[in-house]
Amino acid sequence: MSNNRVAVMKTYKLLIGGEFVRSESGRSYEVQDADGAFIANVAQGSRKDVRDAVVAARAAQPRWQNATAYNRGQVLYRLAEMAESRRDELVHQVKAAEGLSTPDAESTVSASIDLIIYYAGWTDKVAQVLGGSNPVAGPFFNFSVPTPTGVIGVLAPTSSSLLGFVQTVLPPLCSGNAVVVMASEERPIPGLLLGEMSATADFPGGVLNIISGQLGEVAPTLASHEDVDGLDLTGASIEQAGEWARSAADSIKRVFVPRSGDESLSSLRRLRAFIETATVWHTIGQ
């Protein structure tokens, strides 16, 4: 490559309904690395973008839920494949965003990809572990199945740009929810990159929607939106979490607030947070 070549600069865009869009507001903001140096311009999502994303998520959710659990596992595994093939890019961006050494960034990316694989393997086991048949006293076959809550708003962690993103986004996706996620405001690029990878991983458009921008500006729309069924407040401060949990109560949303120990995979709290138990009674007779 000649030294004279002018590099192509990339603007990171929102992911809404399977399409990469600049904000409808036309705004973007500068993202810096841990040392304060400019990395890239990133689309600055608006409240309208959040509403558009919820509409897209609602439309896509039934197809994702009704896909076979095997198929959902294949898609999540494909996401891991895409991430692995572009891992250098992920390492580069995680390193820049979080100011990590190369080995630490490498291990963060490895852990993130492995976590995607972990949840890819859960899709067709959730029903057996969390569901079952119930021996009711009568001539009925009665069974309970875990079903997705629906459309989940996720506030991804502010500091852990990739692993935190995967930790919050994969559990609801795994069980068949559609997600609208607010990427870390300061460190959005690793999450947005994973979104680009999801576009080549056979997700139906709208299952995963990613908004970057100012949390304080757009998250209230997500928290109060009547067509959002669940809210993960991991990326909110204590004050923000209280305020947004209160507005989430208006439509009886399921609200997840992390506590210490939640990232232990054996707790399944994140998986259970956005799962409903649906019970069917069917008569038995000749």
């Binding site: 309970s144 629906g150 209280g242 649906a278 009674w281």
Partner: protein, 487 residues
């Protein structure tokens, strides 16, 4: 659809009254609060009167608990948790629950009579559903107490501590059992708040707990109106709130606890769709529709209050339904022949009237059962509205009374779309002889419970609870343990 009055030969037949004796129940002139294993007066000495909704006669007076009483009850529960209940091996806790289950069975007649006098529901239902299912719940959860490490919540799941439990007036004893049994089995102690109009069976239950020699303070029962419940919700010493009631109050509770670490489960309202496909077994279906909406006077959060009938059979179903509605025996709840009893309160009766009037005003076609209503007490004749549109208030709002709204559909897709066109998501019914169609529908209905070719069935092993604005958390089954464990 037409709704001409049906002709029926059975309608003219009559039964002699078969009254249940009141002698099996002794109701005291007054009940206090049950705290630390004994009855005591409220600190304010205030009390309210509890009436029989079928006669409007006073049954007893009951203490009104204020914030100081709530504080005493929570302190009693905390003391019992710290000193006794959290230290007791699960197997021993379970034996107390087995005792309670047995005594409920033994005193079932007394409980059924008390429940019917206080609530207005037919004695047939309190005798055959409320009381035996309450006993079954204690029996079921008794067996979990020493097996929690096998419940799928990790190797040693911990209880939450003190549970504040607020129950509604539609199934007073049964809802108390749904709340207490899993909480106690998992090692929590409880402060139970019965509904203002139906505290009586909880007072008998307190006596049963004494008889079972349950350690003092493990269960405390505080009576009163909404202010008592609000004080319990707000009390900082409570670790968990379990609430069954309206979506409006549930919303307030969730909001008020949003910034606290208290655990919450909510079992709220519903507007259940009962879907009848063209291949449904007609006779069973008509009985199921009746059970779905007129069971317990329609005071059921999971009632099948929206009937969705496939257009090709709608006229036939409606004619059969109206004929059957005319045969419902409405009247004295203590009569063993009675199908539909009294509305629980004057306040609820007014709410039902307002919504039914809205049905008229918005243009639906009303059919009222020709039954004769008693002169005293609170009564509402079984009512069916046909030609209902999805936008009508009677198709959207929970009526919580014996009022059915009938809508039609052409395709299965349309049935699902209409069934899900609500902010609620508690229960639905599906009537079809085709298993694949039933399971297809069940997969697409946004509801916590789907009854296929049956309706309004309850069992301690079967998780019950809603999605969307019908609340969250499950009661019953293995899933019912989760709301009382720190997992």
């Amino acid at each position: 659809m037409s709704s001409t009055p049906p002709s029926s030969k059975l309608g003219s037949l009559d039964y002699a009254p078969a009254l249940e004796s009141k002698s099996s129940a002794t109701i005291a002139a007054h009940y206090g609060l049950f705290i630390e294993g004994a009855f005591r007066e409220a600190s304010s000495s205030q009390s309210f009167s509890s009436i029989n909704p079928a006669t409007e006669e006073e049954l007893t007076t009951i203490s009104q608990a204020n914030a100081a009483d709530v504080d005493a009850a929570v302190a009693s529960a905390r003391k019992a948790y710290d000193s006794v209940w959290s230290k007791m091996p699960g197997a021993e806790r379970g034996k107390y629950l087995y005792r309670i289950a047995r005594i409920i069975q033994e005193r079932s007649r007394e409980l059924a009579v008390v429940e019917t006098l206080d609530n207005g529901k037919p004695i047939r239902e309190s005798r055959d559903v409320d009381v035996p299912t309450a006993a079954a719940h204690f029996f079921y959860y008794a067996g979990w107490a020493d097996k929690l490490e096998h419940a799928g919540f990790g190797p040693s799941p911990r209880p939450l501590g003190v549970a504040g439990q607020i129950v509604p007036w539609n199934f007073p004893l049964l809802m108390a059992a749904w709340k207490l049994a899993p909480a106690l089995a998992t090692g929590n102690t409880c402060v139970l708040k019965p509904a203002e109009t139906t505290s009586l069976s909880a007072m008998v239950l307190a006596d049963i707990l004494q008889q079972a020699d349950l350690p003092p303070g493990v269960v405390n029962i505080i009576t009163g109106d909404g202010s008592t419940g609000a004080a319990l919700v707000a009390h900082p010493g409570v670790d968990k709130i379990a609430f069954t009631g309206s979506t409006g109050v549930g919303r307030q509770i969730q909001r008020s606890l949003a910034t606290t670490t208290k655990h919450v489960t909510l079992e709220l309202g519903g507007k259940g769709a009962n879907i009848v496909f063209d291949d449904a077994p007609l006779d069973e279906t008509v009985e199921g529709i009746i059970d779905g909406i007129f069971f317990n006077q329609g005071h059921v959060c999971c009632a099948g209050s929206r009937l969705l009938v496939q257009e090709s059979i709608a006229d036939d179903i409606l004619a059969r339904l109206l004929r059957r509605v005319d045969q419902l025996r409405v009247g004295d709840p203590m009569d063993k022949n009675t199908d539909v009893g009294a509305i629980n309160s004057a306040e609820q009766l007014e709410r039902i009237r307002v919504l039914a009037n809205a049905g008229d005003e918005e243009g639906a076609t009303r059919y009222t059962s020709s039954c004769e209503l008693p002169k005293k007490g609170f009564w509402f004749a079984p009512t069916v509205f046909s030609n209902v549109a999805q936008t009508h208030r009677i198709a959207r709002e929970e009526i919580f009374g014996p009022v059915l709204s009938v809508l039609t559909f052409r395709t299965p897709e349309e049935a699902i779309a209409k069934a899900n066109n609500t902010t609620y998501g508690l229960a639905c019914g599906v009537w079809s002889e085709k298993g694949s169609r039933t399971l297809w529908a069940a997969q697409r209905l946004r509801a916590g419970v789907v009854w296929a070719n049956t309706y309004n069935r309850f069992d301690p092993t079967s998780p019950f609870g809603g999605v969307r604005e019908s609340g969250f958390g499950r009661e019953g089954g293995r899933h019912g343990l989760e709301g009382y464990l720190d997992v």
